[in-house]
Amino acid sequence: MKSIFIILFISPFIIYSQTDSLAISIKNGKSLYEDFCVRCHMPNGKGQEGIIPPLAKSDFLFKHMEESIKALKFGGIDGVITVNGVKYDSRMEKMGLYDDEIADIMNYTLNSWGNKYDERITEKDVSVIKK
């Protein structure tokens, strides 16, 4: 009886804490985005067509997630990329972000402005990505 009570009582918290960790990461990512990314990629994630690629509903972001993390970690992507049919060749500076912050910005970006991604990017995911 007691163990049933524990399972019934505890399990919602376990489930809650998993979704919660994504929610916390997204929340952290929002404030980091507003500090480091917003000036170019804009508050609505739409960038500036032809100059700064969009993150909102970006085909590139979802198709090339590792490339996107590399861009955050090491500063930009070399060469021309095509995002939603438009070519971009701008530089992105290295921002000096920590791996946990890059994970948070990814989670925010992947879940904002109509974007949706169920898995949480973790600090470990970022740390294993090499140049």
Binding site: F36, R39, P43, R91, E93, K94, M95, G96
Partner: protein, 379 residues
């Protein structure tokens, strides 16, 4: 690569027409009283560089010392690029990194280079703006001295300020921005951030600094209530320190720095939040300085220089400001400290980071990701 900007009859007509208009910003968005500069000039790329050259400084022989934001220093001379060694560790974070460089007015005798950068310390998370000097001898920095370190460290990536200038009495002025914490720092003289500072050239604090006798104040403060000043020059005629600063949306400012004055941020501003919401209803309050000029729309002024050279027809006495966001150099003419003319130079060349008149009288500009350009007048 050369970009040639040519005079056109249309622009002359346009400029004559527009001169009749009031050039002061309106209280709503949409002031576009800026012209394409009708002068004939050419932008000559003299050193290509793919990095952000945050600042440039000139040796007596007109060769150039250039500071790269990510933390390196180069001497460009006779077509060669020589790396200068001996920089301290630089904290690269958001807008912070290696920032301004300036030679002591007696550099030829004493070899002192002054520079600003973001630094981290053991223990405290994050970084803040730091001012140091070192002797530049044989392409090496030696005898490094940290003159000022703003505190506390923060992981915020915004508003490091970091511009430097000497005045005629060899006082060193520098800016530290509000570090993304406008409600705490700029109006509190017991804390760093959102200030213009003044030091003696050896880093000691002048005893006639305005808050020197206030026991709780940061005694190096010279003026306060700033957001993020990133353009600064000594006016060659008056000897005063002029700044431009990044404001919020519609609130970029030009100020003449006066001892002990409060420039109002964020209690007064002509700007609004980037999101469009209000920061304050007040554009002026008693005991707070009004800007000499504010930009609407914002240009994101990155640098500031006074042209004293005779080389460019009609440009003597003009101010130049780099527009980071709108990607041009703005030329400004004043009459009795009022802006009467604004025009665009080098439109769409890229993001200008620093603008300086060299000892040869020519104006040099560093453009992010491109390199250093020389502005050549054309007949």
């Amino acid at each position: 690569m050369n970009n040639i900007f040519n005079l056109s009859i249309f622009l002359i007509i346009l400029s004559n027409f527009s001169c009749a208009q009031d050039l002061k910003p309106l209280d709503s968005e949409g002031d576009n009283s800026i012209l394409i500069d009708e002068s004939n000039y050419e932008m000559e790329l003299i050193f290509e560089d793919e990095n952000i050259i945050w600042s440039i400084e000139f040796f007596e022989d007109n060769s150039i010392l250039a500071a790269v934001k990510s933390g390196s220093l180069f001497h460009y001379t006779n077509g060669e690029k020589i790396e200068i060694s001996g920089l301290p560790e630089i904290y690269l974070r958001g807008q912070g990194g290696l920032m301004d460089i300036v030679f002591h007015p007696d550099f030829k005798e004493n070899n002192w280079l002054y520079f600003s950068y973001a630094s981290e310390d053991a223990g405290e998370k994050g970084g803040n703006t730091t001012i140091s000097r070192a002797k530049l001898i044989n392409n090496n920095l030696v005898d490094l001295e940290v003159l000022y370190k703003a505190s506390p460290n923060t992981r915020k990536g915004q508003h490091f300020g970091g511009r430097l200038a000497f005045d005629n009495e060899n006082y060193l002025y520098f800016s530290v921005g509000d570090r993304g914490n406008r409600d705490v720092y700029p109006q509190d003289i017991t804390l760093d951030g959102g200030k213009i500072y003044r030091l003696n050239d050896d880093g000691s604090i002048p005893s006639d600094n305005p808050f020197f006798n206030n026991p709780n104040a940061k005694k190096a403060i010279y003026s306060y209530g700033h957001r993020n000043p990133q353009g600064m020059f000594k006016h060659p005629i008056t000897g005063k320190i002029w700044t431009n600063e990044h404001g919020p949306r519609g609130g970029d400012e030009i100020n003449i720095i006066k001892k002990g004055k409060n420039y109002g941020w964020p209690k007064i501003t002509y700007g609004i939040n980037y999101s469009g919401t209000t920061i304050t209803k007040n554009k002026s309050l008693p005991d707070m300085e009004q800007p000499l000029y504010y930009w609407l729309p914002s240009i994101a002024p990155s640098s500031f220089e006074y042209i004293s050279s005779d080389i460019y027809p009609n440009w003597k006495g003009s101010l130049l400001a780099g527009a980071l966001v709108l990607k041009y150099i703005e030329r400004i003419d004043l009459e009795n400290d009022k802006v009467v003319y604004r025009s665009k130079i080098a439109e769409d060349l890229g993001r200008p980071r620093d603008i300086k008149q060299g000892p040869d009288g020519f104006v040099y500009v560093s453009i992010e990701g491109k390199g250093i350009y020389k502005i050549l007048p054309k007949e």
